[in-house]
Amino acid sequence: MTKIPSLIKEVLVNVFKKPATHMYPFEKPDISEGFRGRPYFLWERCVECGICEYVCPTFAIKLKWTEGRHVPWYDMSRCCFCHICIYNCPSNAILPSKDFELSSYTRHVYEGLPKVPPAPFESTGIYKPRYINIDYSHCVECRLCADVCPTNAITMTIKDGRVVPQYDADICILCHKCVDICPTEAISSTTEFPKKPEKIPKELPLSPLEKAGLIRHRTILFDRNICTGCTLCAKVCPTEAIVMKEIGGRLQPIYDIRKCIFCGQCYEVCPVNAISFEPDLPPGLRRKKPKQ
């Protein structure tokens, strides 16, 4: 003879009770006070410090240049709703919400807001540097700015017969090291972000050296028949513009004109006089003569 199970009483009590199931789509559930839902961004409070981007574990926040401001864009499909951005925001520009019905028919991408309000500090007359201007008519092509840049936002390129710095606004952190170090004050910062930022202007003016009739650049030529592959020129080069590479079973010097500062040390050190100079850049890179 088996005992009557004690669950029978529980079952009988529950027969006359209302069901515990929530009828979800028709009846909204009761969400508690501190629920971690979708965060909302307020750009009129944002001071553009970038802490939310740094602290986000899933890369759901990205700072982008929008109409002259560097403001956070938000990708909901990456967000893990940890609210660490809200705990860390210094100006309360991110608001928590209770939104949890977040599914959609299209894929989420980084989303901004439709309107870009002015920054909060601009109403009190304080402006933030936004962009670096390079005045190419004063640039003496010393490449100090490219050396000092911590994020490689300034790099050297060849255009119109000049080896000049080019500026990438997306990577720049506006540390102003290049402004401080420039010997001719050719680099300055502005508070206005241009509508179409371009890395380098289409036409470059004459450099101050060219105006004075001086030619700064020389092309280094290697006579590969005489070269013994002693690697002395690569060792003496201060900017690693000459690198030794093995080609066809022989060590041969490879020369990068963008890194060269034209100091002439390799010419002096070469034991067999395999290095020679030619005035100006190689013919293909020289400034084209204006059409008449």
């Binding site: 199970p5 004690s6 669950l7 529950n14 508690s32 574990p57 709703f81 609210h83």
Partner: protein
């Protein structure tokens, strides 16, 4: 020859209705009786330890949380303990008590989940529904405290992310004694009810000496009268100030392992009520350094057993090495021993009695195709042989 002819290999998994996670067991059966088991791990290997080396600790704690969704607090707590030991930080005492509260709430929710699942596995769906309905009380309290039902994100390195309000303390003191009464009723049911006892009593027996030999952890070991609880012999956070009992059963079968969990739920409610009464005032967080040098261990009693995080930092903002040891991996040899000599129909219940969580289990495993030998490859060997820069 006689034995060979009657042995049948039966493959269960990786996709099987009785197992809720992908794992394969090859049962060698003779008639109805299981003679031998071969487990095969590694279906959900995700490379988390390697990924951990590319993240700073502010980001990596959210990765540690996702090792296992059910025992997420245990993993974050263990990660935080390891980092705090390596960096030499002392957590404020209010944060320690709040960590204890969320840890025990997580334990209640995990144990009630397992008891419901176990009841469902043995075809007792009424108990499953009732237990899961009462689990909602805990889920609601966790949502109030942390802001989410399961993934809590309350523990961060150096403390906790948000404070508990007075209203919530009153709410917890109101709801938890109700749950205590309910769980006591379930305990009585599980002791008496023939539907439950017929499937669990004297099923999956493992003696104390065998359990010590195979190295089981957590409630699995406590069911075989091994008194082993990290909270008891190596107290972390505020457990040295809070009195509690370690639930130990001497039977060693599946029933004992379930009853250990029921007792732990009752004990956890007492711990939370004690911690709420003795909650100290003060700050809830200290700011940790970003880069430091050192080595740290975090040992935490998760709902399934001991979770262990070991981290080595060499003065950079990212760890040089992070190692995670999870409880189910330690319990796999024990559960393979439990299967032997019982019917095939008992296999889901026996497996359910160790509370398996396979997504935190998987490690690197290599099988030599020619000889059929299996071996675990250590980290230095991979680094030496396969890493090319």
């Amino acid at each position: 020859m006689k034995n060979m002819s009657s042995l049948i290999s039966l493959v269960v998994g990786p996709q099987h209705p009785a197992l809720h996670e992908p794992e394969r067991f090859v049962f060698k059966i003779e008639g109805e009786t299981i003679v031998d088991v071969e487990p095969r791990l590694g279906y959900v290997h995700r490379g988390i330890e390697k990924l951990m080396e590319t993240k700073e600790h502010t980001e990596a704690i959210y990765l540690a949380e996702r090792v296992c969704g059910i025992c997420n607090v245990a993993h974050t707590l263990s990660f935080g303990e390891a980092i705090e030991e390596a960096a030499g930080i002392e957590v404020p005492s209010r944060a320690k008590y709040l960590r204890v509260i969320i840890h025990e709430l997580n334990r209640i929710h995990s144990h009630l989940l397992l008891l419901g699942v176990a009841a469902e596995l043995m075809g007792f769906e009424t108990l499953f529904m009732l237990i899961w309905r009462d689990r909602e009380i805990v889920m609601k309290l966790v949502e109030d405290l942390t802001g989410n039902r399961v993934i809590s994100s309350l523990v961060i390195v150096g403390g906790v992310s948000r404070d508990i309000s007075l209203e919530l303390i009153h709410k917890m003191k109101k709801h938890l004694p109700k749950l205590y009464e309910r769980v006591k009723q379930y305990k009585k049911m599980m002791e008496e009810d023939p539907t439950f006892t017929a499937r669990t009593v004297n099923v999956g027996y493992l003696s104390k000496s065998k359990m010590l030999e195979l190295g089981g952890v957590g409630p699995t070991a406590r069911g075989s009268s091994v008194k082993m609880d990290v909270r008891d012999f190596d107290p972390y956070e505020a457990y040295d100030e809070i009195p509690f009992n370690v639930a130990v059963y001497d039977e060693g079968d599946s029933w004992a392992r379930f009853m250990v969990r029921v007792d732990e739920v009752l004990e956890a409610i007492n711990i939370i009520l004690y911690a709420l009464d003795h909650l100290p005032q003060g700050p809830i967080r200290v700011i940790p350094p970003r880069a430091f040098e050192g080595e740290g261990f975090g040992r935490v009693e998760a709902p399934r057993g001991e979770v262990f995080h070991h981290t080595i930092w060499r003065g950079e903002s990212k760890p040089w090495r992070h190692r995670i040891r999870t409880p189910t991996y330690a319990n796999i040899p024990a559960v393979c021993e439990m299967f032997k000599g019982y019917h095939l129909a008992d296999a889901p219940v026996i497996l359910g009695s160790i509370d398996p969580c396979f997504s935190c289990t998987d490690r690197l495993y290599v099988v030599d195709a020619k000889t059929g030998k299996e071996k675990v490859i250590p980290y230095w060997y991979i680094r030496k042989k396969y890493w090319k820069r």
